[in-house]
């Protein structure tokens, strides 16, 4: 049992730290859920790619460094510690790419992987529908076969698609066989958001920014080349991304370690604030998350796999994130309400707080995660509820 890094791993972390110190923008970028902010984040993706730090764990052929899992976690820690911008390319890099590597055709891999590493191709995730949230298999948007043109015709509506207002392409599930059982007969499609027949309508979020959008499909043609995996196999293909979203790949501990560091600084700067216990508890939980990640990494290195454990991560990080930000607001006292340049950190505490509130909802609500933990990990009998995953 040890946490020792090899000299090579330490050198890798040092190299990342040095590069980030030089390149991370001095002032935080505007929110990526605004048009300007989105564009600025896209440029940051290009900068990252130029430095070779966009996708460290990918094969070199696609712009990566072929780094191992340990190096990847080290990089993420350095990334957040440096205060670097949130990754606007994350839907593509973290959610779609693992599936492309596993299920994509060589042609799809060529076309899409490299382009998503430098910000030139940004993806939106189009799963949810007005009638299909937690019960994702209830989706009703359809794909109808078009033999003549060699493809499919999409119809229906998606909703809550993050940054679809500015993204380039989307990926999502459509019902391609209306006669098949719920989880069967779904097909995974890739499509351009400016295709003929697509209308994207931005929706303002709690913080006022248009962070997500509805997508309407009216006879949208998608060629066979943009079907990911086999037709009818979409559910199985999609579920391999669900684990990614909840577990390691999107929620590296660096994010919460960095937030906790900011919380500690905030508490230290306000000696009158009586939140020491809450700050200490946040620190303990961020440490726990960091250490559990190393345990998971070790399990994977040993040849094990991470399945339903991603649900435990999800519950843990999302609740930690809310608690960190609630504590920060209590420390700020009456200032907590202020947003904008007059507020501490330009109002980032307030913005991050609002965003933290979405954590227990997106990527599968925490109630659904608890069902998964109870049934898949503890082996409790299935009830009539929570069959999403």
């Amino acid at each position: 049992m040890n946490l020792d890094l090899t000299p090579e791993q330490q050198a890798f972390a040092a190299e990342a730290r040095a590069w980030l110190q030089q390149h991370v923008p001095a002032r935080p970028l505007p929110s990526m859920d605004t048009e300007d902010g989105f564009a600025a984040h896209r440029r940051w993706e290009a900068t990252l790619a130029e430095g070779g730090w966009s996708v460290v764990a990918w094969p070199e052929q696609y712009g990566g460094r072929d780094a191992g899992l340990i190096e990847w976690v080290l990089f993420e820690e350095e990334y957040y510690r440096a205060g670097a911008p949130t990754r606007v390319a994350q839907n593509g890099i973290s959610l779609l790419a693992p599936i492309l590597f596993e299920h994509g055709t060589p042609e799809q891999q060529q076309r899409y992987l490299k382009a998503m590493t430098d910000g030139s191709l940004i993806w939106a995730q189009a799963w949810s529908e007005p009638g299909a949230g937690s019960d994702l298999a209830a989706i009703r948007s359809t794909a109808r076969r078009d033999e003549e043109r060699g493809g499919w015709i999409l119809n229906g509506q998606k909703i809550w698609s993050s940054r679809a207002a500015w993204a380039d392409r989307g990926f999502g599930l459509f019902r391609s066989d209306p006669t098949a059982e719920r989880h069967r007969g779904l097909t995974y499609f890739l499509f351009p958001l400016d295709a003929e027949g697509i209308t994207v309508r931005p929706i303002a979020q709690l913080d006022g920014t248009t962070g997500f959008a509805e997508i309407f499909f009216d006879d949208v043609f998608v060629p066979d080349a943009d079907v990911l995996g086999a037709p009818g196999d979409g559910w199985r293909v999609a579920m391999s991304t669900a684990g990614n979203e909840r577990g390691l790949s999107l929620r590296a501990p660096g994010r919460f370690l960095a937030a906790t560091d900011r919380l500690i600084d905030l508490q230290a700067s306000r000696s009158e604030a009586d939140e020491t216990d809450a700050v200490v508890d946040a620190w303990i939980r961020a440490e726990a998350y960091r250490l559990y990640t190393w345990q998971t990494v070790s399990t994977v290195q040993d040849g094990g796999s991470v399945g339903a454990e991603g649900s435990m991560n999800k519950v843990f990080w999302s609740e930690l994130d809310v608690d960190i930000h609630e504590t920060a607001l209590r420390i700020l006292g009456p200032e907590a309400e202020l947003r904008g340049p007059q507020a501490e950190r330009d109002g980032r505490w307030a913005e991050d707080y609002l965003f933290s509130l979405s954590g227990p909802i997106y990527a599968g609500t925490n109630e659904i995660q608890r069902n998964i933990i109870a049934e898949r990990i503890l082996g409790l009998p299935r009830g009539g509820d929570g069959r999403r995953a």
Partner: protein, 322 residues
């Protein structure tokens, strides 16, 4: 980097499981609570043969020469089985503080206990111990029982001691390190007790039927049990980390984090396990009380949550150094 128990540690843990089961499993603790020490003593003797009683004594001194992470792995199993007896005292706390002769006796399987002011002011299982000590003002005193005292945990029989005879002066640093080792062992035991409470609750929820179906189908229970799974899963790596960091720069705060997280996880496991069992869990015949007792009692000794939080605050918040 490999942040998992080694194959040897896993094998050692399995050996402990087998030995405890062979001696009667949870019956050992139930009998201990009823003043019948025979099975508990036989188990202790068997552990001595395995090398457990000399776990943290260096090989040169006749011990097993185990690491602090060996200790963490072992004490999780002791907690899981609710093994009764002053193991934390004899194996984790005392060996580094006593003289060479006494240490030899400990390795050979002598049962010892200690009252430590103010971390563990009542001595555990003094009636069963042949060596009794009291720590005050940075000195280790031989001691004798003044009067027995009750505990929240039925399997922990406590006593207040009186110091007598010649004391052995201790260095503040060695005392602090021994106390941290005891806190680490307690944290590991709490994880074990929490895991057992969860196992018991999950098994019961699968078989107990109400309204024509197993109660484990009801989401209100499922979600509580899932929260216990999450709490224990994220507390354990803190205990492992504390074992690695023990005695190093950031060892103190690592131990404190482990003790708090393990206490909270075990306390949650206790509350949920009792709720899942309903009234049957509230009886003293039911073995659930063994682990409920540990989860209630251990968070209070070897440093309360307040003590450990204050230590972390001093470490992470600049300007808080006492």
């Amino acid at each position: 980097m490999r942040f998992l128990p080694t194959d040897e540690q896993v094998a050692f843990a399995e050996a402990i499981d087998d030995i405890v089961e062979a001696h009667g499993g949870s019956e050992i603790a139930q009998r201990w609570a009823a003043d019948d020490d025979e099975a508990g003593r036989a188990l202790w003797a068997q552990f001595a043969e395995l090398g457990l009683t000399g776990l943290r004594v260096p090989e040169e001194a006749g011990g097993f020469g185990g690491s602090a992470s060996d200790l963490a792995v072992v004490f999780e199993r002791l907690g899981y089985h609710g093994v009764p007896g002053p193991y934390i005292e004899s194996i984790a706390f005392l060996p580094a503080l006593v003289d060479a002769d006494t240490r030899e006796r400990l390795v050979a399987g002598a049962i010892a206990t200690v009252a430590v002011d103010p971390l563990a002011p009542a001595a555990l299982d003094a009636h069963a111990a042949e060596l009794l000590f009291q720590v005050r003002s940075c000195a280790l005193h031989p001691a004798a029982v003044r009067e027995p005292a009750g505990s929240l945990a039925p399997t922990r029989r406590l006593a207040l001691l009186d110091a007598q005879g010649e004391a052995r002066a201790l260095e503040a640093r060695e005392l602090a390190l021994a106390a941290d080792e005891a806190a680490l062992a307690a944290a590991a035991m709490l994880i074990g007790a929490g895991e057992r409470l969860l196992d018991e609750a999950v098994s019961y929820a699968k078989v107990r039927e109400q309204f024509g179906r197993p109660v484990g189908e009801f989401q209100a229970l499922k979600h509580q049990l899932a929260d216990v799974r999450v709490a224990l899963t994220f507390a354990r790596p803190l205990v492992w980390n504390a074992a690695i960091a023990l005695g190093m720069d950031e060892g103190e705060r690592a131990v404190s984090a482990a003790k708090i997280a393990a206490s909270d996880a075990a306390a949650l496991a206790a509350r949920v396990a009792l709720q899942v069992h309903g009234a049957i869990g509230y009886t003293s015949e039911h073995s659930l009380r063994i682990w409920l007792g540990l989860a209630h009692a251990l968070p209070a000794v070897w440093g309360t949550r307040a003590f450990h939080r204050a230590r972390i605050a001093r470490s992470i918040l600049p300007g808080r150094a006492a």
